[in-house]
Symmetry: C2
Subunit: 358 residues, 2 copies
């Protein structure tokens, strides 16, 4: 007797749907229906089953659900391996991954889903193999792609072949899958206009790696803003970076050697903006007095630099959340879902463009 009680009170080892069925006095199938909010169950029976579930602390096994049914309750988030690991190793403070988890994980949790985070090489010849393997192992209900995967035809093509729903974060390209992005063009335009409004006319732009489609959009937005004020398209004012600190440094140095160096810079990410700041410091340029700087990433470090950088705030968490939401809805059979979503960005104005009294 004592033993029995102990067994019951401690680890109710493995409560399965069978136990619940027995406890509620119904069949397995009825329990399954209740759990999945299926139709055709009398409210009274539903109550009874729910009570049994609560009493026994029953939680369905994900693995078994996937085996029997068609859903795995798993979403696969694919990030670029090299860039992600390098970011982690360097401790540079990029919080892209954190923001993705914030948006994606929490949305998944709301719906009883799980987000599994994986790294794959975009460049590698085995991208397809890597992605295929992850999918074969996990059988996710949907895949979230982040740049640069979002625009990798090898990956999107594979996903289409597989008939697996997917979301492309940061991609505005039309095509299969949900496109979820912010308006990089408008953001660059807004950033540039902010500088123009402050009276700057020689505004330099440091572009990102051309591998990322958004790099082009940002450059176009910059050009549009300049043209909008009747300023000539000066090739000298466009520096070609690749998102690294070194490339930002190089671009900035080149700017400084011009006969008429820019008085303001829009950099396509935080590292390149910080590089510009560093070069300014080396050359004795006061920020924002001699040189104004805007970053395209609002990572923690640009908020703690000296001065803190004005930056475009990307809605990373919101995009991840939207991606998860769309995929989950899609799997639930909903079909009036927007193929493309554009989420709002913000411009956080700080000391690198406007002198503060702080």
């Amino acid at each position: 007797m004592v033993k029995l009680e102990q067994a019951a009170s401690t680890a109710a080892r493995k409560v399965t749907i069978k136990h619940v069925a027995a406890e509620a006095g119904v069949s397995l199938q009825t329990v399954s229906r209740v759990i999945n909010n299926g139709p055709n169950v009398r409210p009274e029976v539903r109550e009874r089953v729910n009570a049994a579930v609560a009493r026994l602390g029953y939680v369905p096994s994900l693995a078994a659900q996937r085996m029997g049914g068609s859903r795995s309750y798993l979403l696969l988030a694919l990030n670029d391996r090299d860039r992600t690991i390098e970011g982690w190793r360097s401790g540079e403070g990029t919080d892209w991954v954190d923001q993705m988890l914030l948006g994606g994980m929490l949305k998944c949790a709301e719906a009883g889903y799980r987000m599994i985070f994986e790294l794959v090489d975009t460049h590698s010849a085995h991208v397809e193999r890597e992605v295929k393997a992850a999918i074969a192992a996990l059988h996710p209900d949907g895949v979230i792609l982040t740049p640069p995967h979002s625009d990798n035809p090898l990956i999107t093509g594979l996903l289409v072949d597989l008939g697996l729903p997917f979301a492309r974060i940061g991609s505005t390209a039309t095509g299969a899958g949900f496109s979820i992005a912010m308006d990089d063009y408008a953001a660059a335009e807004t950033a540039t206009n902010h500088l123009l409004d402050l009276g700057h006319r020689r505004i330099g732009f440091i572009s990102g790696s051309p591998e990322y489609v958004l790099s082009g959009a940002r450059l176009q937005g910059y050009r549009a803003a300049m043209a909008g004020r009747g300023l000539p398209d000066d090739a000298d004012l466009v520096g070609h970076g690749d998102f690294t600190f070194a490339s930002g440094e190089a671009a900035m140095e080149t700017f400084c050697r011009l006969a008429h160096p820019p008085t303001a810079i829009v950099a396509s990410n935080d590292q390149m903006a910080l590089a510009a700041l560093r070069v300014a410091g080396r050359r004795g340029l006061a920020v924002p007095h001699d040189l104004a700087i805007i970053s395209f990433d609002d990572t923690p470090i640009v908020r703690f630099s000296n001065p803190p950088l004005t930056a475009v705030v990307q809605p990373i968490a919101a995009m991840a959340s939207a991606a998860a939401d769309l995929l989950i809805r899609a799997k639930s059979g909903q079909d009036d879902l927007p193929q493309a979503s554009t989420l709002p960005f913000q411009l956080a104005v700080r000391g690198s463009t406007v002198a503060t009294s702080d």
Copy 2:
């Protein structure tokens, strides 16, 4: 013919162990043995099966492996919900989660495992229910606990009941599970000695939340270092913080109002160290000349503050990696595993304790 080739070249929809068995001309079981590196398979047959696996691009389904066998190839990493989400939301740049992923995910990947990251409330009355639910759903092969869960008896007790292997990161408490920590005592001692070596005698210590066992260890280490130089144990020099910026500010303000304020501070985390820096700025104290500061977290923001902060570098990635490694080994039947591991820390000396020429 064309059709067949296409079908083969595109999405080899679902390759199961059956297909491999047929392709290799052996039974299911033999394939299973090869996959799991089981014994009793002729090298020649093994070769043949491996070739078939490669040819078909077969990858076992995690869900099915878990259903049939006893392993799920999943490790569950449990973090504190409130603290983690707050960190993400604030964008304060804590990279604890990133370092955990770096260490844990990569180690898991090496062994064909996956790390699933979940958030649970330590304070909530339903800690047990939350943890139980996650375990019931996932059936992980092991659980990685981070502070403050590492020392939560409700959680560790449950895990013991369940017979699930687990690792306690940042906990030196003896008991079930693998304890993986750095030597907080020695780290605090080292940090304090660094200041003592620089000639400081009035050294203030801002402690962390007492809920974290490591808070106590750090305080002891500080006291030991002070005592080691024959300095009296002055209660005024110990400020009681809770890891928040506000608490650090308050502690520092209190220090400043002393008849003999400290000339150096050891803060138990980055936020409180930055708070001390902020207060110093407000009061016109030059760092490091008038006030030296050491942080206990080497997060990105302390490397970019002005001046950058000297900090204890915690081996977060290494601890996560070790945790994953131990759990995977344990599940593989290895049993000569160290119950407790202490990983080395470092002291990164920067401008907040030693004037630099930069």
